[in-house]
């Protein structure tokens, strides 16, 4: 199997919007950007927020919160505001934000200028993880644009899963540690430098920049009726010819079924037992069920999953879902902010039990203990890190229930010797 690569795809000519300026492997420069999208539109603040509201744009960082509502809340705050574009992409199985920033940086930078205008901000930050491969492209794009209405500071954050959590970013930009807070002041009231702060995912801002140009009606012309537009997804799985496992970023119309998304990305679900939907805080679903599900928050919630930031990972044939989940559980345990007892103690315990299960090294006490931990750990941390980890593990135990039986009987599958598949940063 080969190492994953990121190759952008659009499902069809008509649904490729954000990525429509891409012609080659390189980044879209300012001249090409203007050719495709034209200059920054001159919409005023209230008209812009109204247009985003009518478009029904939902945030693309994971929670799917209506973007217009956030804009209005920040705009209503006291004094000049701050815009923080979140491009940290803490999720290891996601590549769409980094791809967008590297390949279509000007659409995101347009979105930052427009959002700043909408909320009355006079400064903006673009938060990415230190070492992000997008940084050189962003520096070049910022240099190309020269001086703008609102200055944008590129801020590399520590490379840690929880550092991209909203309160952690605000704390870091205020000179503190990039750690989540328990009851932070709400950022839209008092965030960076105690100012009203808009924190928005970079894809949300790029989408905003397209709506500002073409309007709500255009935006709603594609995708699901209630959650319209296109969205970027990161799809991992084996190629149709089965020769390698790859990771691709695709732009798809919302409401497209997961099965069609894999096909459009040139990947296959054939032979896969399960699909991890929503990333490392997401859920494993049986592949046959996942294939039929349309990509919307509502449909995935109905199936007990969550769309998150649009991560879809098909378990390769021959891999063991329990072993893969155990590795990710260990990674999540190691990436606790180490602030709250239930997370600090509970996640390593859960990961340990999953690793024992994967190896078939199991005794009678492990199962009741694991069930108890999955029950008591969620909902007791300052952030959602432990909740997400528990959700992932619980979904693995249910989706791979038949495998769990065999592993518990001391007969782990051959898959535990397969090449590790889900990416786990060191």
């Amino acid at each position: 199997m080969t190492v994953a690569i990121e190759e952008p795809r659009t499902t069809s000519g008509s649904s490729g919007r954000l990525l429509s300026g891409l012609t080659t492997d390189s980044s879209v420069g300012l001249a090409r950007h203007h050719e495709v999208w034209g200059p920054l539109p001159g919409l005023r603040a209230t008209a812009l927020i109204d247009e985003i509201e009518s478009a029904g744009l939902l945030g693309r960082g994971g929670a799917g919160f209506p973007v217009a509502r956030k804009l209005s809340a920040v705009a209503a705050g006291k004094g000049p505001a701050v815009v923080v574009a979140n491009g940290c992409e803490g999720e290891p199985a996601s590549a769409k934000d980094t791809m967008l920033l590297a390949r279509v940086p000007h659409l995101v930078l347009d979105g930052i200028q427009l959002a700043a205008r909408a909320v009355g901000a006079d400064r903006a930050y673009l938060a990415v993880h230190s070492g992000s491969s997008a940084i050189p492209y962003l520096r070049a794009a910022l240099a190309e644009r020269g001086r703008e209405a609102v200055g944008v500071t590129l801020g590399p954050l520590p490379r840690r899963y929880v550092a991209s959590e909203e309160s952690a970013i605000v704390s870091w930009l205020n000179g503190g540690d990039a750690l989540p807070a328990y009851t932070p002041p709400r950022p839209f009231e008092r965030g960076v430098n105690r100012r009203p702060t808009l924190i928005s995912n970079v894809e949300s801002l790029a989408q905003l920049a397209t709506i500002a140009r073409y309007g709500a009606e255009w935006y709603r012309g594609i995708g699901d009726r209630w959650e319209p537009g296109t969205m970027l997804v990161t799809v991992s799985g084996h190629r149709v010819d089965g020769r390698s496992v790859e990771r691709r970023v695709a732009e798809v119309a919302t409401g497209t079924t997961i099965g069609r998304i894999f096909t459009a990305a040139g990947l296959s679900l054939r032979g896969s037992d399960a699909v991890l939907v929503g990333g490392y805080f997401g859920s494993w679903l049986p592949a046959a069920q996942a294939a039929r599900l349309p990509l919307t928050h509502a449909a995935l919630r109905g199936a007990g999953a969550a769309l998150g930031a649009g991560v879809l990972v098909a378990l390769p044939p021959g891999s063991c879902g329990i072993a893969e989940t155990a590795r990710v559980a260990s990674y999540l345990a190691a990436n606790s902010a180490r602030q709250c007892g239930p997370c600090l103690n509970g996640l390593p315990a859960i990961a340990g039990a999953m690793n024992a299960l994967a190896a078939g090294a199991w005794d009678d006490r492990t199962w009741p203990a694991l069930s108890r931990w999955l029950d008591v750990v969620p909902g007791r941390g300052a952030c959602r890190h432990p909740d997400g980890a528990v959700r992932l593990v619980a979904s693995a135990l249910s989706t791979f229930a038949a495998d769990v039986e065999r592993h518990r009987d001391g007969q782990p599958c051959d898959g535990i010797t397969a090449v590790p598949f889900l990416p786990v940063p060191r």
């Binding site: 328990y182 007892g341 941390g381």
Partner: protein, 64 residues
Amino acid sequence: MKVELNPILCTAHGLCADLLPERIALDEWGYPILEPGELPDDVVAHARRAARACPTRALVLSRG
């Protein structure tokens, strides 16, 4: 009245579970598990004592 816990401040002293056993149990690492919801009137005094005894001020009483 409700009891609320700041999980970042809590360092598992466990006094709260001694003083408010009606609403608080400890997990196996010594961290409190709070029963959610409004406190019945007859345990409010115990809850207040538990909050005052908390060495890290992690446990607080809150209205509503």
